[in-house]
Symmetry: C2
């Protein structure tokens, strides 16, 4: 396969076509006269129903978007990624998080993943006397597992619980440790490099807390790290699980960081189901033709809103309390991957890349920031996620309808309200409409569905990066702050090189050692 990796968004013929089309995007306020759009713009895949007739698109826009995908070789690039090509060019790495759930594959990388799963199974059996599991991690090793755990907490085993220590703010560790019976607690310290400052600091706090209670840290702390890192040391950890060079931190939640957590708190079966859901979506992303490809279609609609309708943000609104932590994970996944200003050739791009992604669950968000989306001056494209059935199956009819019905009615009503708006003689009551949204509907948020959803967004982000022509798999922008922080820390101790800005800030902020 001879893929042209150097082209960017603006190098494709479809780009100009889309620019022209974007001058007259579909007027969603006319949607009531075009309800057939709901049937026309939908897609079904991997158990999901995706409805996007409430986006500002029409058939010619969709044709041009799919042309863009083909011109940008989005699918061949996805295939190359999953086949293990070294597409993370700046770091000279493969990008093979998909191998972490390739249960039906027997590539070298898939076999490594399966080896870790076997280790997890064994470990869970050996730690049955423990009740609590604390993930000590930051960034991708933290937000992904948090989102996974919260999404499936309805399956939690009796007497098992999960906690997270992440921030270098000492109050984070203090608040978590305060409430725990340490004699029954496991701590999973996650750092691929084995050198993440926040995480090592919190590990030291945990070790001291265990020792204070007369407990041996080696019995309670396990390491999740890269083979050969300073944390790969069985003399200091109860066990070591491996992260691989070819899996980036923000793509690692379905590997050991999420796998151990879910297996301990829910059981091994839900974890394996999660992997199956992710694997199925990986296969779909790689093989489904563009027009039937769910993550690619989400990616294209995102590019339409970002690059052609000039909307700088996207809000993900799950109508599911269990997905309350999903937006924070997606925020990291998306913004760290695609927040780039140079293309793969190192040239500054002339167009917008990754959007600002944010969100909160509905219906809560309706009582919070939806006012601004309905009546503010900034249109915000929305990605709604909803399910037909709840998790706990504890529902009740109130005023003639169940909560499940109310929830689903609200998400549909909002997608209509944002699209259509409402005229009113009182301008203060007018809703302008033409706020684009799409709706992803699943049956029930179970482990397999969650695996599928996780992988769906990973591939949406990857497809967007492929089409923009950027490298979604490094994060060079975070290095500067780390280096400067080390410099400021030295100045705090009255040491280090001259750093007048830091000195002034420390003085004026009245920092006292």
């Amino acid at each position: 396969m001879n893929i042209s990796w150097t082209k960017t968004l603006v190098d494709h013929p479809a780009y100009q076509k889309l620019k022209t089309l974007s001058k007259n995007p579909f007027d969603l306020t006319s949607l009531p006269d075009h309800s057939e759009r709901i049937d026309q713009f939908m897609l079904e895949a991997e158990g999901w129903t995706y409805l996007y007739g409430t986006e500002r698109i029409d058939p010619s826009v969709m044709d041009a978007l799919y042309s863009l995908a083909k011109e940008a070789e989005a699918l061949p690039k996805m295939q190359a990624m999953q086949a293990g090509e070294e597409i993370n060019i700046s770091e000279k790495r493969q990008v093979l998080h998909t191998a972490m759930r390739a249960l039906s594959s027997s590539t070298k990388e898939a076999n490594l993943a399966k080896g870790e799963i076997e280790k997890i199974k064994k470990f869970i059996k050996e730690t049955e006397e423990f009740t609590d599991y604390v993930t000590v991690a930051i960034g991708g090793s933290d937000l992904g597992p948090r989102a996974l755990f919260q999404s499936l907490a309805y399956l939690k085993k009796n007497g098992r619980n999960a906690h997270f220590i992440s921030n270098v703010d000492p109050d984070d560790a203090a608040a978590v440790l305060k409430g725990l019976d340490l004699s029954k607690t496991l701590f999973a310290v996650v750092s691929k490099s084995g050198t993440t400052l926040e995480t090592l600091t919190n590990e030291t706090i945990v070790r001291e807390a265990l020792e204070d209670k007369g407990l041996d840290p080696k019995n309670h702390i396990l390491a999740i790290t890269q083979k050969g890192s300073q944390m790969d040391d069985l003399s200091r950890y109860r066990a070591c699980f491996y992260l691989f060079d070819f899996v980036g931190g923000r793509y690692s939640a379905t590997a050991a960081p999420g796998g151990l957590l879910l297996s301990f708190t829910l059981g091994i079966e839900p974890y394996l189901e999660l992997l199956k859901g992710a694997e199925a979506m990986d296969n779909h992303a790689r093989t489904a033709p563009p027009e039937e490809n769910l993550p690619l279609t989400l990616a294209l609609l995102g590019i339409w809103n970002r690059n052609f309708l000039d909307l700088p943000t996207v809000a993900v609104i799950p109508y599911s309390e269990a997905l309350a932590k999903l937006p924070a994970h997606l925020q990291q996944l998306d913004m760290e991957s695609n927040g780039k200003h140079v293309d793969r050739g190192g040239k500054k791009v002339s167009f917008q890349t990754g959007p600002i992604l944010w969100g909160e669950p509905g219906t809560n968000a309706q009582h919070s920031f939806f006012q601004l989306i309905h009546q503010g001056t900034s249109p915000i494209p929305l990605e709604f996620i909803a399910f037909r059935r709840n998790q706990y199956q504890k529902d009740l009819d109130v005023q003639g309808t169940s909560s499940e019905e109310k929830l689903f009615a609200n998400v549909l009503a909002q997608s209509i309200a944002f699209a259509v708006g409402e005229k009113n003689d009182n301008p203060n009551k007018e809703c302008l409409g033409n706020r684009p949204s799409s709706l992803l509907v699943g049956d029930r948020l179970d482990p397999k569905t969650m695996g599928s959803l996780f992988a769906l967004y990973e591939h949406k982000v990857a497809f967007q990066g492929f089409i923009w022509g950027i490298n979604s798999f490094d994060q060079e922008g975070v290095q500067l702050g780390k280096r400067l922080a080390a410099g400021v820390l030295e100045r705090m101790q009255g040491e280090g090189k001259p750093f007048p800005l830091a000195d002034r800030l420390l003085e004026k902020a009245k920092w006292a050692p």
Copy 2:
């Protein structure tokens, strides 16, 4: 006082001046040669140190911004608000959340507030046998109290805990109720109107859960509502606390919704301290001259970034884990207040109003979306919040420095890195700089400080609304969705008026009753 309420942002002479100045904003990459800016652009008030030399401003911009404030009569409007003028014109209401903490005042409204505080004191004494307190609420009655509780949880009494049921998703209530000993649990149902559908639905679920355990709901459920609402009914509630017509939901956290929660979980003293901190900031906002006025200065810098540098979002990044829920509260406060497209006269505005506010705590955010801010194509103004001392005073030196030091070093380093950026021969490693930020520093996040911070942001939002010339105190935009949801619910039951769009969506989403 003869205030001109009808003028908007663009009607003031300073607006044109600022437009001109905005063509050449200060180049922050030159900051290392201008470290005196740190001393020049700072403000001290109410225990806070506010450093804004890392904004893209210079003395002439600040002069013009303060002129704008004067021309817009920002301070007289704040005084009118706090004096009880009926400034919520669309709803013909006073805006007197400040009266809820006017402990040293004896206006009618302050006395009403003090009456409620006395009721809280009495109630807390009568409920000593309870251990858990569940707030059943949505929107402002939920997000504000959540943020307050999380911020001060280090003061939690042994054996006392707080929970929240908010979403109409039945899994929200199910997950919370599952873990509780209902015989020892109080439920505070909060709805000013007494008719909030989500909240009443969850109340019914709570009542049934209590009855299932043979418990009398009347002993466990209290109402926080407006006098005379259908919830003001002592035959059904253990107690009724009042919300007042002149306090909007998103401004109500320091009244009974937060007051009962904090008094039950932490004690009455921390609540009173919180009120004192808020009252002091209320007084400051009303009386400090523009150049010394902290919320007004934040408001003006926000307007500079929004209306003159054309930055559509603002990220609030507290370097404090205890403030993890603050951004969600501020998101509601700010976006519901200022997400408006008409001025107070009902005319469509020709300029941008409320920004998209979002955020997560640092240092976590550094490992999440900071990549995009450093290297993405969308500059994002940042409001950093940091403290000199932690809450739990459980810190440890690791690699020669404490966590407190690492945390503070990081926030300073990031403010420098975002401003200055870094050239690099490898464009993929280059950080562009000129990302504006400001830093609010407090000593320690205690109840008084939290009250001050809460009020600071309330007044920042109010000042921005005053200067834009919009009504920050209604939320007409949320009505359409509510009405449409009722319509969709009817269609789900096969009833109601024809609604082809809803019917199509229900069919294609494969909704089955």
